[in-house]
Amino acid sequence: MLGRILALTVKELLALLKDKRSRFVVVVPPFIQLLVFGYAASFDLNHIPYAVYDRDGGYAARELLAHFEGAPSFQLVSSIRRQEEIAALIDRRDALLVIQIPPGFTADLVSGRTAPAQILIDGRNSNSAQVVQTYVSRILAGFNQDWVARHQLQGMPVSLVTRAWYNPNLESRWFFVSGLVGLLTLVVTMMVTALSVAREREQGTFDQLLVTPLRPFEILIGKAMPGVLIGALEASLVVTLAVFWFGVPLTGGLGVLYCGIFLFVLAAVGVGLMISSLAATLQQALLGAFLFMVPAVILSGFATPIDNMPAAVQLLTLVDPLRYYLLILRSVFLEGAGFELLLHQMWPLGLIALATLSAASWLFRHRMT
């Protein structure tokens, strides 16, 4: 039995690696995605273009503006002299933000009164507008504290000191790159397995395989092995790049990480083989793989938090293996979580793997053709 499984695994690997297109699929798209997500995908804003309309001209106003000029995330593009210029600047997207300081700003502050300042934000992209707003509040808070300290005024009753745990600088790259391990493992594993049965069905070799003494579960193991091997290899590669190239800290242990990787790859292989044995042609299999992957990524919390989704959709995420895997990855990477914390993410993965793999091996013989 072992000999037969080994023979099938060797055959699968040979067939996969000798084929130019399969080699391409395993290497190139993950590499491109790594570059795209590693460098391009980020919630952080840098060089926010802003304009200033200083109608006060006093020293307090200049001090406030100096806080913005000194912040690396902001870049001054224009100083405005007339009210009408504001609209034009924002319409043309020259500035994302306009700071308007009314006359009497310095006078008010000096005499101990609260002084208003106006912030105009381009709200067309709500996401970045919110980010800008947060940055502005942070700078204003800094200015307030400095002012209070310098003029020996009575401080504010509560002063907020924020510490972000696990990602002190709230770098979204840490979040994305650790999630990327999950995404790329999924893509590569699906590509390797989704085509394997469908290709053989199309070429008629699957019938040939079914009439040999190979039992369905032997075929299953033989077909799953290349997916597991290549998926785990791909995950290791991305983990290595994440740590040594993108500088994301790996705080947790490798044991728990690989346990998660293994379980997830099994689940992904199961889904891939299931799609593959349902499909009659290569095209159907490819389409099926994409029909699975796109929702799986969106529902996984890769980019948008699951907690924000409607309750019904949240239920749907429970069958998405990527959801559990991302949680495991991020917990291991950033918080250094161990088995006791992640057990509840691991057993659903095992369950999904069991269900999909059994379904796949049943479909080998029972799909009508």
Binding site: D207, Q208, V211, T212, R365
Partner: protein, 590 residues
């Protein structure tokens, strides 16, 4: 010449004129085409030169890979040749493909019928595409429907027509705008013999009544005799051109039928085919058809000559004489069934298979004795592949019982599958693995290991002449070698029962003879062989056979018995094809 052609013009009136076009409708000069799939070099056509005779049917004959389709596609202006020239109706096919396409009719192997449209909608669509004037349509439809006999099915979806009817509809769609030159690429392959005859009679009428010139390609050599002219292609080269008699006549006086007692026919056939001076010896029911070498004066022993009866030569004899001189004559390797048993190897009782509301197999009952060569004969869609797949356990049965070596393979333990061999019509191999890797995989899949596996792989390489190809990727092998490799892989584990699904479809007659020689050797060794085929003459090679049409077994028995049933006045010695046609006629009285 072009001015004259223009004067005739492509109008319908000119085409209906009974006078043939005075120049050759298709003149081919030094035509060469090379394909380079994946870095390999395939010489599809090698300096082919011929002129098509106007106003007659010319057969383009040759096995798969001979270059027939490439030639057709170049003539239709769909491919550009590497060298040489093609003149179609006086136009250069490379320079003016569009005006050629509007004047000729071309029916590719798989005609693009829209299966979800009715017969009429298909006709309307193609009439629109070919720009047939609305006023001319009804008259043309009537004529074509009368020719094809499809008039009663105008409202039926094309997808629900039988294989033969689809082919006739495809032909009708090609003929909507009457062409002067008609190119038909394998219109009769896989079609049942009745539809085949009907297709031929349509082609004859087109030639006679509309003065069309027809180039028709086929892999069936017996169809050569239905053509006025034959162009014989082999491996991209033109072997010869002429009337079919030119090929068969030199063999007159060299062809015989030897009557023998039923039990010994395989041994005698193998013995005869190795005799010096014998070009060809194939089984034909209870006899052996022998062709003697025209060049050799050697004759088989006088004693054997006594019960020989001269018969008419066939086109195929000429083909074998032209191309078969170099084929191997050595004794083929023996193979014995491991656990030769007596009784029935395969038992089928009341077998049915339903796909939705379509009955693909209707109540089949038959059995195959151990050591027998049993044939399932039928056209595409007759239900023979469905039956075959149920026997192998690849498809669940809807009802009824299947027993192979005493078990149902679908639910049998893996060990039972180890006793059967299987070869599918696609010669299913892993195309990007080498020959040796393929053999290695199948040996191990059947549980062979170590020295035993090595021994069997070496046996396969030697016995099937694959020794030089061990490191060749199997996808790049020529078709005949792929077939050998597939058979070698199916025999790695010395099975008791061998299943062969259309093992000879597409391979040339010489490779077909070689495969049947191997099957004979297996049968001699006690291996049970179940084989499906749509070649009528291969039915003669079987011990017993079942003839299938639209899911039913029409006849079951020895080839001689089945043929004898069709014997009547005016048809004292019916061929297998005539017997088949009689059976189908009984099924659907026309």
């Amino acid at each position: 010449m072009p001015p004259l052609l223009q004067a005739l013009g492509p109008s319908a009136d000119a085409c209906r004129s009974p006078q043939p076009v005075p120049v050759s409708p298709l003149a081919i000069q030094g035509l060469t085409k090379v394909f380079r799939p994946g870095g390999r070099l395939v010489q599809a056509l090698d300096a082919v030169t011929f002129d098509l005779s106007p106003g007659v049917v010319t057969g383009l004959i040759g096995p798969d890979g001979a270059g027939k389709t490439t030639l057709m596609r170049i003539a239709a202006g769909l491919l550009v040749p590497d060298a040489g020239s093609v003149s179609v109706l006086g136009l250069d096919a490379v320079v003016e493909p569009l005006s050629i396409q509007s004047q000729i009719g071309y029916m590719p192997q798989r005609f693009g019928l829209y299966e979800d449209l009715s017969v009429r909608e298909n006709l309307d669509l193609y009439a629109d595409l070919q720009g047939v004037a609305a006023s001319l349509r009804q008259e043309r439809y009537d004529r074509l429907m009368e020719m094809t006999g499809l008039g009663a099915f105008m409202g039926r979806l094309a997808g629900r027509l039988s294989g033969g009817m689809k082919q006739k509809l495809g032909l009708a769609c090609t003929l909507l705008d009457p062409p002067r030159l008609l190119l038909l690429d394998e219109p009769t392959v896989g079609v049942d013999p009745v539809s085949r005859r009907e297709l031929w009679s349509i082609v004859y009428r087109l030639v006679e009544e509309e003065g069309m010139s027809v180039l028709l390609s086929t892999a069936y050599l017996d169809e050569a005799e239905r053509c006025v002219q034959v162009v014989l292609l082999h491996q991209g080269r033109l072997v010869d051109q002429g009337p079919p008699r030119q090929f068969s006549e030199p063999m007159r006086g060299k062809t015989f039928c030897v009557r023998i007692e039923p039990g010994k026919r395989r041994a005698l056939q193998a013995q005869l085919s190795r005799q010096p001076g014998v070009l060809d010896a194939v089984l034909q029911g209870d006899g052996i058809r022998v062709v003697l070498d025209a060049q050799s004066d050697e004759r088989p022993p006088e004693a054997a000559m006594a019960d020989w009866r001269p018969v008419d030569p066939r086109f195929e004899d000429g083909f074998v004489a032209l191309l078969g001189s170099g084929r191997r004559r050595g004794e083929l390797p023996r193979l014995r069934a491991k656990s030769a048993s007596s009784g029935d190897a395969i038992e089928v009782t009341d077998l049915r298979r339903r796909f939705g509301d379509f009955l693909a197999v209707k109540r089949s009952t038959f059995s195959v004795r151990s050591g027998e060569v049993f044939g399932l004969l039928g056209a595409n869609g007759a239900g023979k592949t469905t039956t075959f797949r149920m026997l192998c356990g690849l498809l669940p049965v809807s009802s009824g019982r299947v027993r192979v070596a005493g078990v149902d393979l679908r639910h049998a333990a893996a060990e039972a599958r180890g006793r059967i061999g299987y070869m599918s019509q696609k010669f299913s191999l892993y195309a990007n693995l080498t020959v040796r890797q393929n053999l290695d995989f199948f040996a191990r899949a059947y549980g062979l290991r170590g020295r035993e596996a090595k021994g069997r792989i070496q046996w396969a390489l030697d016995a099937f002449g694959l020794g030089d190809f061990g490191a060749t990727e199997s996808g790049t092998l020529p078709l005949g070698f792929k077939q050998r490799l597939a058979m070698a892989a199916a025999l790695m584990h010395e099975p008791d029962i061998l299943f062969l699904d259309e093992p000879t479809s597409g391979v040339d007659p010489l490779a077909r003879r070689e495969l049947w020689d191997r099957i004979n050797v297996l049968a001699e060794g006690g291996v049970t062989v179940l084989v499906t085929t749509h070649f009528m003459e291969e039915a003669e090679y079987c011990d017993r056979l079942a003839i299938m049409a639209s899911g039913e077994i029409l006849a079951l028995g020895t080839p001689t018995a089945i043929k004898a049933r069709a014997a009547r006045e005016g048809q004292p010695e019916p061929t297998m094809e005539q017997a088949f046609i009689d059976l189908i006629r009984h099924l659907e009285p026309v």
